[in-house]
Symmetry: C2
Subunit: 225 residues, 2 copies
């Protein structure tokens, strides 16, 4: 029996797990998913399988890969062998796609802190207003500038055209945050968020998240101050 595993956290909250899972599914890797419910801090069960104590973590063909972008690159290499492109096939576009994916990977900290991912909730009212801090709004403005440039340049509905790439996978949890916290967005951004939400894999993840048991709910995400 195969030892191949993708370790993920609670789907409702784990934005990085979503990124890694999308890469694995886009590449069609045959791995067993193992979900470890997040505890809201360091989760010992994750520390036992992942070198940096974080999810996602992929064990495939004897290799252990514990970062969502590194998982994405690995999946892109495997997929390319069967003619599927997780990055744009054109080198210049691929470089741009990596630039925006990498900017997401290392940045937008203020947005991530202010507006955590919670696939089961919407906070459009006073809770949401309090999260629209100047630094979070600056992050959102930069996200929208990236999206706008890509969508205008490549025709949408996804960042690099008709195909959902790893750049979209990196931003999928940002779309989810926007659906939850509902900051003001341009029409172009709203359309992009809707396109990502409607992608079959994203929809599948949301559906699975909706079936997660109530005991996995974390108060800090369900009852934000």
């Amino acid at each position: 029996m195969s030892e191949d595993r993708l370790f993920i956290g609670t789907r409702r909250y784990s934005s990085w797990s979503l990124r890694g899972w999308l890469a694995v599914r886009l590449a069609g890797l045959d791995v067993k998913e193992v979900l470890i419910p997040l505890k809201g801090g360091f989760t010992h069960q994750i520390g036992a399988v992942s070198p940096n104590g974080m999810v996602p973590c992929l064990r495939h063909a004897g290799v252990l890969i514990w970062d969502s972008l590194a998982i994405g690159e690995y999946c892109a290499e495997l997929a390319a062998e069967s003619g599927r492109h997780l990055w744009p096939a054109d080198r210049a576009l691929r470089a741009q796609a990596r630039a925006v994916a990498c900017e997401m990977h290392s940045g937008f900290r203020e947005l991530r802190i202010a507006m955590p991912m919670n696939l089961g909730r919407e906070f459009p009212g006073p809770e949401g207003e309090g999260r629209r801090t100047p630094t979070a709004l600056a992050d959102i403005a930069r996200v929208e500038a990236i999206w706008s440039g890509c969508l205008a340049g490549h025709g949408g509905p996804f960042l690099f055209g008709a195909a959902f790439t790893l750049a979209d996978a990196m931003f999928a949890p940002v779309c989810a945050r926007f659906l939850t916290w509902q900051p003001e967005l341009t029409r172009r951004s709203q359309d992009y968020v809707a396109a990502v939400r409607a992608h079959p894999l994203v929809a599948e993840w949301y559906d699975a998240a909706a079936r997660e048991p109530a005991e996995w709910l974390l108060d800090k995400y369900e009852n934000p101050a």
Copy 2:
């Protein structure tokens, strides 16, 4: 005349510039270096050339790439065409190298805040002690765990064996921080730091940094509280 440019910040301080520059030089790209002195906050001149207002930023063959890891991947692709490997040639090792490079790319924030890069100074005394905060020390412990695993597994002197790869490029500024702030390190880590410091490209960068004019010095890095 070629329009190709690599925009970098002050060599003495700009840790991300060093990473991107190493990738460009390892790949042998023929681009003109343009140094924009850092102001210690947002630098308008950088905002005028780089989409996210940060360096490094590479303009090559009409493509603009503004993240050091994305620059690394682009350089790796170009170098591979002439038989040079900026990532390990073996797929499993390449996946590991990307995992550690990506972990550096998105992490170790506490270390980076506590111990800024300053290639011209050493703070081994009281200033250094104050920077050894619990969170910075936790980051250093994780860095050493990564290094130890790679060095033991692949024989050194670099993380994936005899060749200096993009994984080493990502950690080169961490080596520089350790030389400045001198936290306690294992013998194995000290040897690795020395190997990186002695690499001809790293030595060339240090030499160029030492020739930078005094008016580029920033008080917050030269006189840490």
